[in-house]
Symmetry: none
Subunit: 207 residues, 4 copies
DNA sequence: GATGAATGAGCATTCATTCAT
DNA sequence: CATGAATGAATGCTCATTCAT
């Protein structure tokens, strides 16, 4: 007769830490970091205050952990979708689709990530900026060939991000705030076409 | 014998109220609405707590006053710059220029306006949304002729704002946060060209 | 007909601030600064937390205010009792009497003053040390003539305080802690005689 | 065949307990008992929280153990130095020398011992008092002969401790706090002479 | 004996807001 | 209108202690 399967305490074991993170994400997304209280997180996560502080040290610490995870997750998606495309147009389309798709899939994380950074604490700010810069550079490398081939326009470097992602970003903010009713699927189509038109040297040539 | 001219208390009167608003704007812009305290405003404005409450009732009240003023000021500029242009391209250029120009001129107000609305209080939120919508509609009327003439592309209505202003908005956020070093003048040129390309039916035709 | 005497609001007016100080003194003396809570002070003083913080800023701030007052009060008494005595012996007697007398009269303040300074906060520490040093110097000036006349022994400067006040201090600590039952009056007599014997060049010569 | 020698885990065993005590002493001496945290002790001792509690039960328990050890060590030194001296003067000198010498040798323990007892917990207080009283009585027995012989003055019993040890105690407090720069060696000489003068019936007679 | 995650009561402090003068 | 003392609910965080492994 086989031993009974070990009783798994689904309440506590499988990661207090991530339960806290999940709860914090929900709460932060709902009310904003500053307005969210540790008590909110505690109730939602079923953890004790002490436990929360044991793992994260500060409210800011929770936010920072969430931020790091969110940034990496978001950029991994962006970069994956841009890599290995056969044409510049498809690459651009992939980026817009990845951005909007990611936001639609993980609205809480998106809301948290794209709201205020001020509240995460300036200490973490620099780290975040560097992380973002590194990710952006990786992405930029993927686009480089198309610049060299004269398919994409040359612009002051700092303007690529606004041009490429600005519309999608603006759409996303409105969509996350419930202030727009256009479906992600539609937005992706239109916005990536527009991005292509504004970035391509010759938008009508498709190779 | 004529009544003596009213004694004007140059110290307090000439504008306690606007002194408070100015102080609040500075503080809100620096630390965000939530993190800013009435005490901060008091120190900067040289007014007393009581006086602040006399004029604005609540912290939210100050923010709301500032918001209303900011929105109207911003949109007035946008609409003025869009009105009476001879061509669609110039209209679009005017809008981008107005947006970026305004932000460069009033960075504090811009920072305040374009950060979180969450914190102003949901009560005011609806009012703000309606105000914005009304302004936007006015602007849209100005563009209508170009749509009818087939100069500008037809898109789902909700996407015009992201397409038109998204890049400028994204640029502005970065510029306000000191995360980009491209000059407003340059940004205006490039971004308005890009906006034109993405919105015009035939970007190369200029009339 | 004389104006009616102003109504004195004995509850609030006559000095919230000193009510708080008095309460804090009692509480600090009873449980020590660290163990005492703001809540204790609040209950005893009938003030609100906010009011306490409005006046003192920090728990440490209350302790510092109390400390400054205590030190000055104590030293004023010491110096007054040492001034203008006709002989060295009487001067010394006056000092011991003043020390023990003060402690017997204001045991709470004494307990507070002579317990731990660590807890007042290192920021204030230096200020306290300087204040004490200044007072001590004043006192020392009063004793100078007797040194010059060869009535009092010459010793390394730092040892006068221990020799003069050490026994009284030790007695006081025990008395304040309820660990000794000898009356202040008796202690003063014996300890000042002993101090005289240990400091006088010729204890039997009285002039 | 003899049992193999027990494996001694030189890392942990040989004295977790005393490592904890040593760490606690350092920490208590530095910040005071109340301000010191178990976490401080844990870091310094390289032990785990659980281990600390396993050995001492409570924070108070650590303090009590340290206290008991300190008191016994201190008094053993005092009594050893007072025993078997040939004259009253030498006995008194021995006591002062022992007190100051001990403090100079074990400043941490001294700081801990002579600071606040309040914080050790009233439960232990009585025990400590009794222990001290017993030690003091032992010491007193050693001095008795000199009282009977009329070499030392008769005083109210409670005043012997202040007179004998008060100056040394005061000196010690200042020395431990870094507030005096006179060397222990010098202090011993001067303070024991003074003690002799204040306690001897005829200070000039030396036998 | 050792470990460290978990607990939760307790605390100092902040801050929007009120109100008597 | 102005002033600033007073209020007290709310919050982030600490820390001694417990306990399953």
């Amino acid at each position: 007769m086989p031993a009974p399967p070990p009783v798994i305490d689904i309440e506590t074991s499988p990661d207090r830490k991530s339960a806290i993170l999940a709860a914090a994400l929900a709460v932060f997304s709902e009310k904003g970091i500053e307005a969210a209280t540790i008590e909110d997180v505690r109730q939602r996560s079923q953890a004790s205050v002490g436990s929360i502080y044991h793992h994260f040290g500060t409210k800011e610490g929770i936010a920072a952990a969430l931020f790091a995870h969110g940034i990496d997750d978001y950029w991994a998606r962006l970069i994956a979708s841009a890599a290995g495309k056969a044409s510049a147009e498809r690459t651009i389309h992939g980026l817009i689709a990845a951005h909007i798709g990611w936001i639609a899939e993980k609205p809480d994380l998106a809301r948290f990530l794209f709201s205020r950074r001020q509240a995460v604490g300036q200490a973490y700010d620099e780290a975040i900026r560097q992380r973002t810069a590194a990710h952006f550079k990786t992405l930029f490398e993927l686009l480089k060939p198309w610049f060299k081939q004269g398919v994409l326009r040359r612009l002051p470097a700092g303007l690529y991000a606004p041009l490429l992602m600005g519309p999608a970003q603006e759409y996303s903010r409105q969509w996350l705030g419930g202030r727009i009713d256009i479906e992600p699927r539609v937005a992706i189509r239109e916005l990536s076409q527009a991005a292509w038109r504004s970035l391509a040297v010759d938008p009508d040539r498709r190779d």
